[in-house]
């Protein structure tokens, strides 16, 4: 049924009906999906579990999409965000660009385009994460820790990167 690598997607949108169907479709395609209905909820969820890609609406009650992305990336620095909004304006597109949004998509989005964007974002996340992981691993090797210390440091790293 699916040939997706296990991509963990966090959906953030106050339009509940939209997320209901969107998550069903993504689940069926083999993605791991968590739907959240506000920026606040997304931030709480991100503190518990690791995600690869977040699909974030811009205009939401409470914390808006730009701020949500900012906070999500503070919690999970490698998380890639895709902005999916009906209230698109070039200003907010630029603003979310400043927050390093991976891509900016206008609702209603073609499902295939969204899936392609999620896969691309996942690829980017892995690249960025691997590069950083290797860099830090290198540092540990060079640090002259004993076998025990090294095992512990690597275990810590695994935890940080959500690789348990």
């Amino acid at each position: 049924m699916t040939d997706q690598p296990n991509i963990r997607v966090l959906l953030v949108d106050d339009e509940e009906t939209l997320l209901e169907y969107l998550s069903k479709r993504l689940l069926k395609l083999g993605f791991t999906v968590k739907a959240t209905f506000s920026g606040e909820q997304a931030i709480e969820v991100a503190k518990q579990d690791h995600y690869d890609v977040a699909v974030v609406d811009l205009k939401m009650p409470g914390i808006d999409g730009v701020e949500t992305q900012k906070q999500l990336r503070q919690i999970q620095p490698f998380l890639q965000c895709i902005v999916l909004t009906g209230h698109g304006s070039i200003e907010s597109a630029l603003e979310s660009g400043q927050e390093d949004a991976f891509q900016y998509l206008l609702k209603p989005v073609d499902h295939d385009d969204l899936v392609a964007a999620i896969k691309e974002a996942h690829k980017k996340k892995l690249e960025v994460q691997d590069a950083k992981f290797r860099e830090q691993l290198d540092e540990i090797h060079k640090s002259g820790l004993g076998a025990h210390g090294m095992r512990k440091a690597i275990a810590d790293l695994r935890k940080i990167y959500g690789l348990e």
Partner: protein
Amino acid sequence: MDSNSTLKAELKRLSRELASHKIELHQTRGYLHSILQNSTDMIFATEVTGILISFSKGAEKALGYSVEEIIGRSIEELAEDRHGFHHVMATCEEQGCAMAPDIYFRDKEGKRVHCHASLMSLTNRDGQRVGTVGVCRDITQWKKLQDDLVQVDRLAEMGRIAAGVAHELNNPMAVISEASGWAEMVIKDAKGLSHEDRQELEDVIKKISAQTRRCRNVTHKLLDFVRDSAPTKTEFDIHTLIKETIDFLKPELKHTPIEIHLNFAGEPLPVTSDPKLLEQVFVNFITNAIHAVLEKQGNQGRIEIGTTKADSQVEIRITDNGGGIPKEAREEIFELFYTTKPPGKGTGLGLPICRNIVGNLGGKITLDSEVGVGTTFTIQIPIS
């Protein structure tokens, strides 16, 4: 002897003084004359009774009368509301001066000239009033500009509202799109459906998603059109852009007897320019062509859009078989606020803006028109 020489000296002094006064007088006269000749304001002087004794070049121009024609007539005759103007003159007589921010004169052809007037009493050395001097500014254009700006502002507001509506529609459309996508998946996996039922349901879903895509094209295109964006230069196919523009204008063409013919020079025709700005230009010209065709009643409308590539230029021709543009209006149509549409329908901004855009992109617009036959606008832009 003595008194004789004193007298002589005095005479000399007096003639010197007189000469210098004469020079001064001459200069002052020259100064006044050049003001009266060159000021675009209407400047006039009347006797106590209101009979005109001086009429500046600006006044001649604004009201269409020559000095010879007007001297000796009463200024009040020129005012649309004589009674009102008389009242202003009376105030001036009483207080030495008077202002009238909105006075209407009638020019020689009877057209209304909207003026801001200020009047002053002219007095002699004894302080007696000998007449009135008036300075009036023709503010007809200015008032029209103000009205037009209100109209432009209203249109801009409508644009913002349209964009807002498009945004609002995007959300429910996204829901429809996702829901139908999900339904498609469910149908695919459903067991126990007869072949016909499955076929029919799949068909329905296909229609829903096709129609959603159609809505999406409209809202996305609209948002794209109203969105401000910095000028950019990218390479794109001019034919694709023209086709997309026609798609965008489909609602305008619905239920009209207009046929659009494309006469493209080989495909594709890549140019490096600003597609958004050019799209705006095409929207304008095609919309104008549609209106021209529709205005000519009983017309089998035809709009032809042709392209030619020549050296470093691309030429886009938009030809309609509307009523044509009379010779005398062919330059005027590019002037700001020139419109033949009834008040509230056209702003007279489209063509001047188009000319500006095309000019900024390094191209030019020309036109060829025959009254009763139609018009061709030709837009030339550099390939890169």
